[in-house]
Amino acid sequence: MKVIKAIYNFIVGDMVILLGVIITVIILALLNFVPVFAVFRVASGVILIVAVLVILLTTLSREISPRG
């Protein structure tokens, strides 16, 4: 457990960023590998950029929230 925590802290150390990036990767993987979503594949780049900005905004909002 200590090793996992050390790796997590070393690479990211922020649950919002980690979850946000994982969700984005899953969405992009679905667009790329599931034929039903193929029509949205062209928007992959835009989705990735918007996701990065949303993740940044969310993690900063969490930092300034009364609990954060």
Binding site: A29, I49, L56, L60
Partner: protein, 266 residues
């Protein structure tokens, strides 16, 4: 020589080496320079071995598409982490990194242990110096490997990419040591926050670009699009800094008016 890769590695390394140098300096001043430098050089050698073995393994055995996707995702994680810290510091929500305060704190800790300067090797000093350089340098080693191995399309270019990144990191290391040796004090004048901000933007931009390529995104204007990404992230970060400053000011006003109200009631 791949300049974008070398400069990104240089900037990232400069920040981390300044942080590591503070601890090396503390050990040098409070115990002795022999222990301090032995720990620092041992850590540098460990980092060189990590870069050489891991870098070559990645380049040789992992296909470029897979490598770019994984590296892109890791760089986005790293980049967002650095960018978040830099934005919070610029907006005044988090205190700026203060090397002098860290220096004093470490000095006090070592003095509290009862360590006195001696000429012989002091295991605690070697270990402290080694740990500081290794931990700060690991992130740099990671950036060197990921940046260097992804910024090219052929194995030869990938190897040259790792070499460029390693050179950038080494130059930063030598520069920090030289300036530190001359100043003999914590390097407080280095604009650590600005460097962190620039590196955060670079890592996030390259990360987005490579992760996108891993998902077969056809970026307009090819590699030139990275500049556009950097500009977009830079602009967004400035907007976020302004927004956070406003939030902070608003809170401070609220607190002071609440305090005044309580004072009047009394």
């Amino acid at each position: 020589m791949q300049w974008a890769v070398a400069s990104a590695a240089f900037l990232a390394s400069a920040v981390e080496f300044v942080e590591a140098f503070t601890i090396v300096l503390v050990v040098g001043v409070t115990m002795n320079w022999r222990s301090s430098l032995a720990g620092a050089f041992a850590a540098a050698a460990t980092l060189a071995v990590i870069v050489a073995t891991l870098g070559v393994t990645l380049v040789k055995f992992v296909p470029l598409d897979v490598l770019r996707l994984v590296v892109g995702i890791i760089l986005i994680l790293f980049g967002l982490k650095w960018l978040k810290k830099a934005i919070l510091r610029y907006s005044g929500i988090k205190a700026l990194h203060d090397e002098e305060a860290i220096f004093e704190e470490q000095m006090a800790e070592i003095r509290a242990r009862g360590e006195v300067p001696e000429a012989r090797f002091m295991p605690f000093g070697v270990a402290l110096s080694y740990k500081a350089v290794l931990l700060e340098g690991l992130e740099v080693a990671f950036i060197v490997i990921t940046f260097g191995s992804s910024a090219a399309t052929t194995i030869a270019q990938q190897t040259s990419g790792i070499a460029s990144a390693a050179l950038g990191a080494a130059v930063a290391g030598v520069l920090v040591i030289l300036v530190g040796a001359l100043v003999r004090a914590p390097l407080t004048k280095v604009p650590e926050n600005t460097l962190k901000f620039i590196v955060g933007i670079m890592l996030t931009s390259f990360g987005t670009f490579w992760a996108g390529e891993g998902f077969k995104v056809d970026w307009p204007y090819a590699d030139l699009f990275i500049v556009g990404l950097a500009a977009l992230y830079l602009l967004s970060s400035f907007v976020l800094v302004l927004w956070l400053r406003q939030v902070k000011q608003h809170r401070e006003l609220e607190t002071s008016s609440r305090n005044t109200a309580v004072h009047v009631q009394k």
